[in-house]
Symmetry: none
Subunit: 259 residues, 2 copies
């Protein structure tokens, strides 16, 4: 239905997207996810701490997507799989106490098609328990398929299929490549984690964060800054602000200050 | 995400749609298709000459959609399964010599949502050879998922999942961006201005902002925080952080701190 050039244009966008399966329990689902990806033009599969891989069942269910399995990158956890990404989207059926901004699958497609400079990860949790709250907090957005109230639990590979389908539809339709929209490269997930470490230690030092009674403070601040999608210069500004705060708290301000 | 009334309205449309699997070879696919249907709010499954049904593997893959399997109607062929339908849509990856009018999956959803008086069948062929030409000629339309040229062969249950997803999206009245998903009221413009005043004075106090050489610092910080819409609790957290910074800079920390 789509010509060669459509396919090539879609592929260029889809190459920026990795599918990250976290703690997958059933190897068959890994194979079925690989097949779902390849039929939609995605090829980059990351497996964070899979229960059992490689596995005969994965190979069987992948059918002609065995190459996707063979090129899959196995990491020790989700953090390692998304370290160099600038846009991380978690899938979740559950509402969290502190909610991330939510995307409909169709909005996911539009967002990814429009984010021409991002390295994108779409992250899928375990079959039985999904993503942990801590894993979810590494995400910029949460995507949710509006299932029937009668039965909300989709098969893992089926969720991969629907989201990859929406990505492909957006890539083929590719409304407007939002290329030159931003003037700075975006902060990486790894850079953000270093910022959160610095933020946590600084807030502790000025006694705003009490380690014995942290409440939801860091969770809320993560949600706030992940929503912004900081660029690298902004990250540098915030790091500078934190360093200045620490110096002030330690009484290390320059002597020529008036107050 | 969708309220009760959305779900009920969608269900009324989805009740007019039956899923017809013709000559399915792998019983596991029947179970996976039943699960895909039920999560999207469809319940009426017809099995035309299945190779092996009921089957342990179908039950296993259906998980909590066993009721869909139990209520499935087994017929001797496709003709019997669609006999009382007024709108019959065949799925096919192949181009036929005599081509039926073609639908994109999204158009399928729109067509079905708009056909309020029709009894609708969506028909899926065998895993290896699809629908025969004779079976295809019993259809009013043909629907085709635009797969990647690199791998066009989707799993049967995955095709059922994507089409049922599009039916559900159309039934729900299309992707509504989820406005009301936030758990706190948003910050007012006035509240934001007070925050920026507080931010500016604090950054001056810790010597990070130099009034004689402000560069673009406040401009960049405004752009940063304005990019998201802060809620009131987040604004309170940020104000608290600034106040704690000022106290620390003035040496007013509680005496029981260790450093």
């Amino acid at each position: 239905m789509s010509g060669n050039s459509d396919d090539a244009r879609a592929d260029a966008m889809l190459r920026r997207v990795r599918i990250v399966l976290v703690g997958t329990l059933h190897s068959g689902n890994i194979g079925a996810a690989a097949r779902a990806m390849k039929t939609m033009g995605l090829t980059r599969l990351y497996l964070a701490a899979p229960a059992d891989f490689p596995h005969r069942e994965a190979t069987y269910r992948a059918v002609q997507a065995v190459d996707v399995l063979e090129q899959a990158i196995v990491t020790k956890d989700m953090a390692e799989a998304v370290a160099d990404c600038t846009l991380v989207i978690g899938t979740s059926a559950r509402q969290r106490r502190i909610q991330l901004p939510q995307l409909h699958p169709r909005e996911l497609g539009v967002l990814c098609a429009g984010s021409a400079r991002d390295e994108i990860a779409i992250v899928f949790g375990r079959e039985d328990s999904g993503l942990s709250n801590e894993e979810m907090q590494r995400c910029n957005w949460q995507v949710h398929i509006p299932t029937s109230e009668a039965y909300t639990s989709m098969n893992l590979a089926a969720v991969v299929q629907v989201l990859c389908y929406e990505l492909r539809m957006a890539a083929l339709g590719n409304a407007q490549p939002n290329e030159g929209g931003w003037d700075e490269p975006l902060a990486s997930a790894e850079g953000m984690e270093r910022f959160y470490d610095h933020l946590e230690s600084t807030l502790t030092e000025i006694d705003f964060l009490k380690p014995t009674a942290p409440r939801q403070l860091m969770t809320r601040l993560r949600r706030l800054f992940n929503r912004i999608r900081l660029d690298q210069m902004e990250l540098n500004i915030l790091r500078g602000w934190l360093t200045a705060t620490q110096k002030a708290a330690r009484g290390e301000l320059d002597s020529d200050r008036t107050e």
